[in-house]
Subunit: 341 residues, 4 copies
C-alpha cells in the first residue's frame, strides 16, 4: 500500500530524526529560551537577510494561523481571505473563536487578486456608517494555496502594495512553503517574504519536520508580547528546543528547500503520467499536490494499492481526487503508480 | 423637512410616553423583576397562546441578536443566515466577537430557502472530517427582512422543518415584526411564531416603543441561565420596568399590531404614487420599507424637502434609495411627498 | 411603603422627563450622531475644561465597564481592582467574558491603595517568566466605591502616578459620581477627573437620568474605533439622542451635581438619626449609601414600612443592611424613617 | 553541570524514543484517527478499568487545561481552584481568554478542601441576585499540586462528593501524575481517577514522553464534540499517531508508573540528605519536587555545579529554592549533589 493521500503521514526526515536523537541525555532550558531555538532563528533570519525580524516556533498550522491573526487584530477588525482559505474552510472556526470576522473572496484556483482585496478596503472606506461593519485590517493568503497553486512575485507584490495602501497586514500561510518555493515555475525567492509581507511561516509539519512551524514577523507592530499570546493559547512548547533543533536541521545546507524541490519533481513525473493517459488535472498545480478528474472504474482499481484523497464528485462517472507527493516520496512509489496507470 | 430615512427617528407612541410618565414618583424593583415586566410578559404569552415560553426584555436589536445566538450555540457551532442578514452585514462583527462563525447563503430578495439551508446541513453531515468545520446549529432569519420582504407561512414552516430535521434552532429577528405582520399580503399570524421557531423577538425600538425588544424563547434548551447571559453582556437594564411598561402599553388593545398596519398602509399609498410616476421598485417590499430606483435629478430635487436613505448606485443616471414609513408617519407627510413627485 | 433599597427605583428627574417629552414629534439622526449628543458632550467637556477628551453615551454601567476595559486592553493584559469592585463581584463575569483576567486587591472600606497597586506592577516587572502571567495594564476604581466611600484627591493622584509609572490606565467607574462629588468631605473636583485618570464616567442611571452613562476618554490611546466597540457589543443605542437629551438636562445649571448634594444631605440626616439611636455604621460612608449594623428585631419592625437591602449577617442578633437615598428622596420619607427609629 | 531545575529538560525516555523511531518509513492517517492512538487509548482505559471513558491526546498542559475547562463550561460559569493553581498563576490568562472566571481559594500547601469548595457553592446558592455572579460549575485541582503535595483518597472523594452535590465537575490536572502516584505515602490508585473525578489527564511531557498529555473524560456531558474543541483551539496534532505511539510505550509494562516511582525515590534520597544537613523543607512534598529553605552562601556555592530554581526570598539570609528529580535523574547526579551538600 502506497500512501499519496497527504504530506504528513510519515514521522520526519532522517536528518531531523538524527538531530533530535542527538539531544538524548542533554538538558535544555524551557519555553523556547534555549540555544537550539536561538540558532535556528538566526539561520532563518540570515537566509532571509532579515536581521530585524522575529522568529517564533509553534507546533501546528491552525495554531499558528489563529494566534498570528489574533495578535495582529483588534476585536472589531476583520481578516480577508479566499473562500477556499484554510482558516475559512478547515479550521473549525478558530479565527472566529478569537472574535474576528473572516471576509471571503471567491477564489480563482485558490488565489485572490490585489484588485478584489482593494475593492473590499475601498468599500469600507466609503461606507456610510463605518462603525456598523468590521474594519479590514489583514489579508491572509497561502503559498502554495489549498489547490497547490502559487502566487507570482508580481501578484504577491501587488497584494502587498494594496495592503500598505489601506493599512492592512499581509499574512502568508506557508504550511507547504518548501513545495511552493520548489516549483519549477516559481519566481518568488525565500528572501522575498522578508520584504513582501508582514508575517509568514515556514511549515515544518508537512515539509520534513516531525512537527512545527516557524513564524517570521517582519512588522514591528505585531512583535510586542507575542510570547504572551503563545502561552495564553497553549502554543508555547515546554520543551521548545525540540522545535529549534528540527528547524536547525532543516535549514542546514538548505535541506528544507531541497526537500521541496524533490517532492515537486516526483509530482511532475506523476503529472506527466496522468497527461499521457489523458487524465485531466482539475486544477493545474505546479507544486506537490495533484488534483485530477478520474474515471470511477480506474479510481476503484487504483484504490487497491494506493491511498489518495477523495475531493468531490465531478460528474456521474468521474470523481476529483488528490495525490500528494512529499519529502518522503520514493522513486519506486511513483514508478508503481505510473505502472498501475 | 420630512423624514422618511428610517423608522427610529422619533421618541415613542403617545400611549407609550403616557405609560412611562405615569410611573413618575413610583418605585420598582430592579433588573426586570417587577410587576411591569411580569404583566407585559403575560400579555405577550397570552396573545401568542404560549404559556411555556419565556419572555425577556432587552434594549436593542444587535444586543438581542448576539446574546440569543450566544446563548444557543457552543463555541464550535455556526449560525446560518442570508448574506444580507443584519447580523452579517450591519452589526460590526458582534456574533463573531462571541466566537461564532456566520455561514451565509446568497439572499433572494433578502430571504433564504429551506432547501439552501438543508444543503449546508446535509453537506456538514457528509463531511469527511467533521471536526475540521463548524457545526450548523442555528438558522437566523428576519421577519421582515432587510429588504422589507416577508416569508410566507409555507416558507417559514419549511425552514422550521429543516431545522428540526437537522437539529438546528430557528431564530427570527423581529426588529420590524409589527410591519411584517401588518402587511396586506402576510399570511403568518403572530401566534405562529410560538410554533414555527425556537425563539424570536418583537421589536419595540422601530415599532412604537422608546426603545426595547421583547425576546420570546419557545425552546426549553435555550431557557436556562438566560438572565446570566443578559447580565454578563450588559443587557440587563437596571430599571427593567421601563421595558415592561412600554410593552404593556404596546400590547394593550393590540396597539403594536395596529401601528404596524397603519405604517404599511402609508407605505402602500407611497408605492402606488411611485408606480403612477413610473418609478420602479428595486425590490418589491410589502412592508414599511420602499426601495426605489430613482432618477438622480428627481433625487436631488426631493432631497430639499425630504430625508431618505441612499442605498447604492443603480446605473449612471439612477440611484437606489429607501423610503421608510413608521408608526409616526402622518397623512400630510405622505401627501406632501406624493405632491412633490 | 418607602423605598431606600437602591438609587435606581424611580424613572427620572422631572427636568429629564421634560427634556425627553419635549422631543415628541421631532426627528433625529440615529446612532448618537445628532445635535443632542453633540451638545451634551460639549457641555460635559466645557464643565471639565477638557477640549480634547472624547465623550460617548452608553445605556448602563456593566456595559460601560466591560467595553471601556476591552477597548483598552489586549488579550494578555489584566485589570486590577478591589475584591469588592463591581466588575469583580456583581457583573456576572463580563470582563472575563471579554477575555481579560481581573486581579484583585483586598479592599479597605471598598478602596485600594497606590502602594498595593504598585506592588502588583513591580512584581510583574520582576517576574522570571513574564510571558506566563498576564500583564497589568489597567486599574479600575469606583468613585464612590461599593461601600459608598470616596478617594481623596491625594489618593487619586497617587494612584494615577503609579499607573503612569508602570504604563497602566486608570479607569474610574462613576456610576454614582454625583453622590461622590456631593459628599461634604469630598475634595476631588469634577474637573480633576480630566487630569487624574485615563477614562471615567458620569453615571446617569442612578443619578437623575432615566438611564444612561456618559463615558469620558482622556487618553488618546483608547479613543480610536471606540464607536466600533460600542456597536459590536450592542451598546450603540439606535435613538442615541435620548441619551444626549438626558445628559444635556442634567448638565444644565449643574443639576447633576445638585442632585448629588441633595441626596447626600438626606443621607447625612439619616446617619445622624442612626447615631443618636446607637445604631453603628458598618462602614463609614460619606455618600448616599448607609451601611448599618441593625438589631434583627428592629430590622423586622422597620421592614413593614420601609424597603432596604440585606447585605449579610453581622452576628447571631444583628444584620448588616443598606439604606440608599437618591435624587428622588423626599424630606417626608426621611422624616418617616427617623420617626420609626 | 547537573540540572535539577525542572522535570522537562530532557527529550524522552529511551523506550519512547525507540517507539517513535520505529515508525520511520511507516505511514499513518492524520488527526488522531490511527491505530497508535486507538491502541494507547485502549491501554489507558483497560488499566483504569473504564471502558466508557473517552481518551484524547494533546500536546501540552496549558492547552489541555483551557480546552477541558472550556468544553465543560458555558460562558457564565466559573471554575474554582487554589490561588496557587497552575491555571490561575502560570498560564497567562488562558482560561479567562476563553471567557471564564477563575474563583480562587487560598491554598493550604497547594491544596484546597472540600469544605472551602462547598462554601463557595453554597454562597452562590444563597445569593440574592444569582444572575449577577458567575455560576460555580467546575473545581480544578492538580495531582500532585504546584508544591508537590498530593490529595489523600479521602480528600479526593470528599471533593468529588461536594462537586456532585452542587452539580459541579471535578477536573484533575495530572501534568505530574506519575510522580503523585509514585509517592510512598500516596493512597490514591490510578484507577480511582476513573471514579473520583469527571475528567483528568496523565501528563507525558514531564513524565517520560517527548511531549503530550492524555486526557480522560469520564463524564458523558463533556464528551460530545470534544474533537471540534481540539481542532478549533489548534490542539489537534496533524501527526496524531506521534502521541499514541508515545503513550503506548509509556503504558507498556506500567513504565509510566515505574518512572514516577524511580524519580520519587531519588527525591527521597535528596530530602534525607537535606534533613541530615539541617536544611528545612519549605513545604513537605512527598513527590519529585523539593522546596527547601537554603542559606544564600550555600545557594551560591551549589549554583556552580547544579541548576535549580529560585522560588522566592525567605528572609534576609535565606531563599526558597526548588530541586526537581525526574524520570531521567541518575544515581550519580544525586550522589554528586549529596556530596556537595
Amino acid at each position: 500500500m502506497y500512501r499519496f493521500n497527504n504530506d504528513y503521514s510519515q514521522i520526519a526526515h532522517p536528518a531531523v530524526m538524527k538531530a533530535l536523537s542527538d539531544t538524548e541525555g542533554k538538558s535544555y532550558g524551557g519555553y523556547g529560551i534555549d540555544p537550539c531555538c536561538k540558532k535556528a532563528a538566526k539561520m532563518i533570519k540570515d537566509r532571509l537577510n532579515a536581521k530585524n525580524s522575529d522568529v517564533h516556533f509553534l507546533v501546528g498550522g491552525t495554531q499558528t494561523n489563529f494566534i498570528a491573526i489574533d495578535a495582529a487584530l483588534r476585536p472589531y477588525e476583520e481578516v480577508i481571505c479566499a473562500d477556499s482559505g484554510h482558516i475559512n474552510a478547515h479550521e473549525a472556526g478558530a479565527v472566529e473563536r478569537c472574535g474576528h470576522k473572516i471576509v471571503t473572496i471567491p477564489n480563482s484556483d485558490g488565489k485572490i487578486s490585489a484588485s478584489a482585496v482593494a475593492k473590499i478596503a475601498q468599500d469600507y472606506k466609503e461606507s456610510v456608517i463605518p462603525e456598523h461593519v468590521t474594519v479590514p485590517r489583514m489579508v491572509y493568503i497561502s503559498f502554495p494555496t489549498e489547490y497547490g497553486t502559487i502566487y507570482t512575485k508580481k501578484e504577491l507584490s501587488d497584494l502587498y502594495k494594496v495592503c500598505k495602501k489601506y493599512k492592512m497586514y499581509l499574512f502568508v500561510d506557508g504550511a507547504r512553503l518548501a513545495y511552493g518555493l520548489g516549483a519549477e515555475k516559481n519566481d518568488v525567492k525565500f528572501e522575498d517574504f522578508a520584504k513582501l509581507c508582514d508575517l509568514f511561516y515556514l511549515g515544518g509539519t508537512k515539509c520534513g519536520a516531525m512537527f512545527g512551524e516557524a513564524l517570521v514577523i517582519n512588522n514591528d507592530d505585531i512583535k510586542p508580547y507575542f510570547r504572551n499570546m503563545l502561552k495564553q493559547n497553549g502554543a508555547m512548547l515546554a520543551k521548545g528546543w525540540l522545535l529549534g533543533t528540527q528547524f536547525s536541521a532543516l535549514m542546514k545546507d538548505d535541506l528544507y528547500f531541497k526537500l521541496g524541490q524533490d517532492a515537486v519533481k516526483q509530482a511532475d513525473r506523476l503529472k506527466k503520467a496522468f497527461a499521457r493517459k489523458g487524465i485531466k488535472e482539475y486544477i493545474k498545480s505546479p507544486t506537490n499536490q495533484i488534483f485530477v478528474v478520474i474515471d470511477k472504474a480506474l479510481e476503484a482499481k487504483l484504490s487497491k494499492d494506493f491511498v489518495f484523497e477523495f475531493e468531490g464528485k465531478y460528474d456521474s462517472k468521474h470523481d476529483i481526487v488528490r495525490f500528494c507527493t512529499s519529502w518522503y516520496t520514493k522513486d519506486e512509489e511513483i514508478d508503481a503508480l505510473i505502472k498501475a496507470l
